[in-house]
């Protein structure tokens, strides 16, 4: 693991040199597929980053433009036989470019500071924003303001963005999930797990969190969910704010007593990929205790599907009308964590579900954190490609296991005038358990 560094020249040269430019990554890179230009490919970007380390190219606005065009989907790391740590290079470059001002200043800097530093690191502020947003969306105010095109006063981008804000799902996670929940009587207890409720997930997908807890309870796990959790820092690490990522990780780890927990469960692909790599954030020489703790943490963090399959979960009984469902791999679940078959196994276990494979299922949908906001054109190209494939799959619903993908796919389907629902495997499983107890009663 490379120690946390903040610039490409400080980065271990071996990491940059690891790429032998064989080109195996090219056919899996979304931005290379749409542009067919080498600078928009993983090995092209690595060549630019290496040129910076070799002092033949500047870490300036042009590199920033390119590194911000990269989705950070990590498909290249799946394809790379040489084991190149693209994610490390990507995060280092973005951090350097933010720190030296190449990624932009002015209003962008203000919004970034507001979101990353003032809101996402503070759970109560985030919940407050959630309530405001909910009031705005529910009161009819949104329609009125949109009709007057008021959001466009704040700029074209914000105007385009406003309708994309996820619908707030109140009550939020803390209102739906108790701090400690125990399996229903009759279900033998297997142990206790911690539950990560996420930031956006706990506001916009509170019901997915509830379903995750229900599924764990049904399988004999006690679930401990600390109140008002903050962001895991994935947003910060991917967007060039490593110091804030360190703060977020430190704060989140402090909420869990690892010794008492079999695992710490995450249900959002994008978060999980970062949550499993906390050790890389801390310099073991300077903070040995925290680094040690982060290592233990990384070993305990499990994606919900991965955990269910590894520990063995009970397939729900019952019959349900047949339903063809296809599955879209979240990049950071498939490429970031290597979790591919577990969500499919969960889906297949749901009575009545027939899983049909989606072509290019692990090609990014263009959501990629806040990429859809920052790079709307490329994001839309990838979304169109994804919705084409979904329509060709001949399924009644599409499942995915990450809030960003969920919102993006839903938006793409609405754009097409399709009424196909977007679902999450763990929600279907929870429903099947509920159905089972209802039919028993």
């Amino acid at each position: 693991m490379t120690p946390p560094v903040r610039s490409l020249r400080e980065l271990d040269y071996g990491v940059l040199q690891q790429c032998m430019h064989c080109g195996m990554c090219l056919p899996t890179c979304p931005t290379y597929l749409t542009t067919k230009k080498e600078r928009h490919s993983p090995r092209g970007r690595i060549a630019l980053m290496r040129a910076v380390a070799d002092r033949q190219f500047e870490a300036g606005a042009e590199l920033a433009e390119e590194m911000n065009f990269c989705l950070g989907c990590l498909a290249c790391t799946t394809a790379c036989p040489a084991g190149v740590e693209y994610g490390t290079m990507f995060e280092t470059a973005r951090a350097e470019l933010e720190a030296n001002g190449s990624s932009g200043g002015g209003m962008r800097r203000f919004w970034r500071w507001l979101a990353l530093e003032q809101i996402f690191l503070h759970p109560w502020r985030l919940q407050f924003v959630g309530w405001l947003l909910r009031f705005y969306q529910r009161s009819g105010l949104a329609e009125g303001i949109r009709a007057l095109r008021l959001p466009y006063l704040l700029g074209q981008r914000l105007g385009d963005l406003e309708p994309q804000a996820p619908l707030m799902e109140a009550p939020f996670s803390d209102g739906r999930i108790g701090e400690l929940e125990r399996p229903p009587s009759g279900v033998p207890v297997r142990g206790r797990v911690g539950m990560l409720s996420g930031c956006i997930q706990s506001l916009a997908f509170a019901s997915v969190n509830r379903a995750t807890v229900d599924v764990l309870l049904a399988n004999g796990w006690e679930v401990f969910t600390p109140r008002a959790q903050s962001c895991c820092g994935s947003l910060h690490a991917h967007n060039g704010a490593p110091d804030l990522a360190v703060r977020a990780a430190f704060a989140l780890m402090a909420r869990f007593d690892l010794g008492k927990l079999t695992a710490v469960i995450t249900n959002a692909g994008g978060c999980g990929s970062h949550l499993k790599h906390y050790a890389g954030l801390f310099d073991a020489a300077r903070h040995p205790k925290t680094a040690e703790r982060a290592k233990a943490w990384d070993a305990k963090v499990k994606d919900i599907h991965e955990f269910l399959v590894e520990t063995g979960f009970r397939p729900p009984e019952g019959r349900a009308p047949g339903r063809r469902i296809t599955y879209h791999d979240s990049c950071h679940l498939a490429h970031g964590q290597g979790v591919r078959s577990a969500p499919r196994q969960v889906l297949r276990a749901v009575p009545g579900v027939e899983l049909v494979e989606l072509a290019e299922s692990d090609l990014c949908c263009g959501s990629a954190g806040i990429y859809n906001v920052l790079q709307p054109e490329e994001s839309q190209r990838l979304l169109d490609r994804k919705t084409d494939r979904i329509e060709q799959a001949g399924a009644a619903a599409v499942a995915t296991a990450n809030p960003g993908c969920h919102l993006q796919l839903a938006r793409g389907l609405v754009q097409r005038g399709s009424s196909m629902p977007v679902v999450q495997p763990v929600v279907l499983l929870a429903e099947a358990y509920r159905e089972e107890s209802r039919s028993r009663a």
């Binding site: 080109g23 433009e65 040489a82």
Partner: protein, 463 residues
């Protein structure tokens, strides 16, 4: 330089001429280690006419042109030359026609190799050449390098499947060479001059390919051996038994461990060497060949012979083998891949010589390759920043080349000469044939603007 570049920009459109460092640095290399040269500009034409106009422009302004597909070559063939223009053909990416009755497929040069075989498969047909990079290499690059692949033993190489070419000549004229006829002896076989010419004679803008019926059945076997020598002997025994399997691949332990580290498909990492064997064709013939190969492998000392349960498992094994070269990069910073090829009966001797050379020069050399056709890929695992070690690498390389030539082999079986093998070509050629190479080049590209300095230098180098 600006005014002429503007002409070029007007030819192809602003979006398709790249001149800024951020755009051209990523075109400074191909898949070959150690080679790097920033081009003056990269042009990405969209039609044959635009390609011809680009070549004419280059001739007018005396700018060297390096044609490039996906840039996955392994001998530096598409590495830019100083002050040169890179002519990228990735936009010419359409399959133009499949003729299932004549068993042919017509395509533009930028089509990905795998897409050609996938299209053939839709018609129950197959395009056999399958280089390791088939998921991203272009057919134009394959023809220019005369690429081989895993199936070369039974099906031959790219040359065996090219029926006709459309080529832009050095003066910008467009020529059609060959025909759709199975038999055609009208004049010199000019198309054959361009196959494997590595972009030094013209620019391929269209290919007409021969397809074959897709085999009904396929069986894959993996045999593990206690030593490299026993594995090499098993190969000789299989060929001696008059079996020509479609694939007969050799992988040594170092390579095997790297591949397993990446692919995680349960390869036998404790074996000193493994053979990946595949037979295809009529189901009865496949069953018979598989059984005989298994028996021979056991008789020659194989510890274990594992038969792939189904085609999917067989495909996983073949895919893993294709990743061997890149997977080896896990071990050391620089991976130098060789491509020496010897007559099959000299294989065991060559394998032993490579191990002995590695030991003598204190170097790490992993070996894998298409042993069925005598094509070896000894791969040096080294670090280009270590000058002392690199000196030993080049010494060892030179000895391996001399041994190859002494055994009646060739310095490159399928990767091409490019820049990487240029120094060794002269050792293999006699003076008369080497002069012939230059005569052909001068006749077709008198000004020496097409990929100059690749394969050989046009001017006789001082002794």
């Amino acid at each position: 330089v600006t005014a002429p570049l503007n002409d070029l920009r007007n030819l192809v459109g602003a979006d398709h001429l790249l001149t800024e460092p951020v755009d051209v640095i990523p075109y400074s290399f191909d898949g070959t280690a150690e080679l790097n040269q920033r081009p003056m500009a990269v042009v990405l034409p969209g039609t044959t006419e635009e390609v011809a106009a680009c070549v004419a422009w280059a001739r007018e302004h005396r700018v060297p042109v390096v044609t490039r597909g996906s840039g996955t070559g392994l001998s530096g063939g598409s590495v830019p030359v100083p002050g040169g223009l890179v002519l990228g053909l990735t936009r010419l990416d359409r399959i133009l026609e499949v003729d299932p009755n004549n068993l042919t497929l017509r395509a533009q040069p930028g089509v990905i190799t795998k897409a050609i075989d996938d299209e053939a498969a839709r018609h129950g047909l197959m395009y056999p050449p399958d280089p390791g990079s088939l998921k991203i290499s272009t057919i134009g690059g394959n023809v220019a390098e005369n690429s081989g692949g895993l199936r070369g033993l039974k099906y031959g190489v790219t040359r065996d499947y090219v029926m006709a070419l459309q080529v832009v000549l050095a003066d910008g004229q467009v020529a059609r060479l060959g025909s759709a006829c199975v038999k055609d002896v009208a004049g010199y076989s000019l198309k054959d001059l361009f196959i494997g010419s590595e972009g030094t004679l013209g620019v391929i803008t269209e290919v007409l390919l021969k397809l074959v019926p897709r085999p009904e059945a396929r069986k894959t076997l993996l045999a593990t051996f206690p030593s490299m020598a026993t594995a090499a002997r098993a190969i000789t025994a299989i060929i001696a038994a008059r079996i020509i399997p479609c694939t007969l691949e050799f992988i040594d332990q170092t390579t095997l461990r790297c591949v397993e580290d990446y692919a995680k498909i349960g390869l036998p990492v404790d074996a000193a060497a493994v053979l990946l064997m595949e037979t295809d064709g009529h189901p009865a013939a496949v069953a018979d060949e598989a059984a005989r190969m298994e028996a021979i492998a056991r008789a020659e000392g194989a510890d274990r012979v594992q038969v792939a349960a189904d085609e999917a498992e067989g495909a996983r094994l073949a895919t893993a083998r294709r990743q061997a070269f890149s997977a080896l990069a896990r071990l050391r910073p620089t991976t130098i891949l060789e491509d020496v090829t010897v007559p099959r009966t000299r294989l065991a001797e060559m394998v032993a010589f490579v191990s002995e050379t590695a030991r003598r020069h204190r170097l790490q050399i992993a070996t894998f390759g298409h042993m069925g056709d005598g094509n070896l890929h000894p791969t040096f695992l080294t670090d280009e920043r270590d000058a002392e070690e690199m000196a030993r690498v080049h010494l060892a390389l030179s000895e391996i080349v001399d041994k190859t030539i002494a055994l009646g082999g060739t310095v490159t079986g399928e990767h091409g000469v490019g820049l990487a093998k240029k120094a060794y070509l002269k050792r293999q050629y006699d003076p008369a044939s080497y002069t012939l190479l230059r005569a052909v080049k001068r006749a077709l590209d008198p000004e020496g603007l097409l990929n100059p300095g690749k394969i050989f230098d046009l001017e006789p180098t001082p002794p």
